[in-house]
Symmetry: C2
Subunit: 279 residues, 2 copies
């Protein structure tokens, strides 16, 4: 396993971690100022700043873009809506390419409106990714399926285990991989095996860290800083690295009541400290 204690060279910040405090320009400058070498923006903030301006600022600061958040959401539409969603996903691919991102993260979508049919939603996702892949391959932009915690199956993502994501990658072929966020998969009894499977296929595209708090007070916005919860971060990173991953550890924390209320410089300093001490 890599020794992370001595510097921050594999640390990246997903801008969601400081999104309540900073717009994207501020985040780019703040992350660079903190000596953190990687960043992962969200599309709403990217569009507010402008893609060209963001790409220029990111290059000027020499930051790696570990991923663009996010494409996906293939299930929430009628047929016309699906066409619009695919157009928007192709734009997301182009934006990711303009930023030089390492991948476009896909949060695939939950149940279709007024539907209880999870199997059908999972088919919509497979078809949506299949439809997006040619454009992504042409742009040489890897798509990273992010399995989300089962508590988001209804409304955010019906791909809820790494096994499902691996199965989709097997079915749909090259240009597709996975983003592993410990928050979503830490509980999975098959995690080690499925990480090894993803690694053997060369599809480990991103690795996100935060922590699971006990108690968790909100399903969406109560993620913990690394070390403040119960996830065995080092064990999971060990599995990921044993499977061949040599990329960044991207910190992504949604925290309405805690970290989003603190000075962003303090948040980043804490990310650095915890990255070195507990990740």
């Amino acid at each position: 396993m890599r020794d992370l204690t001595r510097d921050s060279r594999f640390l990246a910040i997903n801008t969601a971690t400081v999104r309540a405090q900073w717009d994207l320009r501020q985040a780019i400058e703040g992350v660079a100022r903190a000596g953190i070498p990687g960043i992962a923006p969200w599309r709403d903030q990217l569009q507010a700043m402008g893609v060209a301006a963001a790409a220029k600022a990111i290059r000027a600061h020499g930051l790696a873009v570990t991923g663009l958040c996010r494409g996906g959401m293939f299930t929430g539409f009628d047929r016309a809506g699906l066409a619009r969603a695919l157009d928007d996903n192709r734009r997301a691919v182009d934006e990711a390419a303009a930023l030089g991102a390492q991948c476009l993260v896909l949060v695939v979508g939950g149940l279709a409106p007024h539907s209880r049919d999870l199997a059908a939603a999972r088919e919509l996702v497979r078809d949506g990714i299949a439809a997006l892949l040619p454009h992504a391959r042409a742009a040489k932009m890897p798509l990273a399926i992010e399995p989300l915690h089962p508590m988001y199956a209804a409304d955010r993502a019906c791909i809820n285990t790494l096994a499902q994501a691996n199965d989709l990658c097997d079915a749909l072929g090259p240009g597709l991989g996975v983003a592993i966020d410990v928050y979503h998969v830490w509980w999975d009894p098959d995690l080690e095996r499925e990480i090894a499977r993803a690694g053997a296929a060369g599809r480990l595209l991103a690795f996100h860290v935060c922590d699971w708090l006990v108690p968790t007070r909100d399903l969406l916005n109560d993620r913990g800083m690394m070390g403040d919860g119960v996830i065995d971060l080092r064990r999971i990173r060990g599995w990921v690295e044993a499977a061949g991953y040599a990329g960044f550890c991207e910190v992504e924390i949604f925290s309405a009541e805690n970290w989003w209320r603190r000075p962003p410089e303090e948040v980043l300093a804490t990310c650095i400290e915890r990255y070195r001490s507990v990740c």
Copy 2:
């Protein structure tokens, strides 16, 4: 599939559904008065009423006891604590036998205190159930492992899929089965297969229903009434019955802000109506 629309003969009420309004005596009388033939008590209310008195009242009303909630919690202890927990679990077996319950439901426990080692917790659970089984077999009281939703992995149960529960049953042998609660397993892509596996082994001991609300506002106490959420209840019941289950549908709803605030007679009437129309 069975036709549930014409009567309530396979309906049971887990007393958690009306626990804010009624003690166990009131629940027994209220469930019987509503013409519901099954009940599943919790041990705290059982002990408050007294086991002999509860058994007598349940018999007097001719109610089936679809399960006793709950044994388990094998992980929260040091060695001396584990011995006490096992003693308490043996008492739970005896109480379930005194009530003529169809099973003792096991909520197995989450991470051990100050531990992040899920694999170790899962071993504690295996060892705890193994230690409890001889007493349960002697009492002819089936133990029903209830896999809990992954969002409870840290603090309530580290058995989070039906596959894990089936694996434990395979490993530990007779006297052990599973309780399937749709709330915990509805998202699982392997659910149909694992239900068939459990059924083929004769280990489907209980079937619990409620619904998953969108949005869910609380991780513990925001379960929905059947039909108010997104779970495809009839499809899952179809799988369970195709696997050989012919027992009760037990309604278990934790609902601090809604159903626990309503008159319990209204709650039971709604359970009957939804059981007939959507389950």
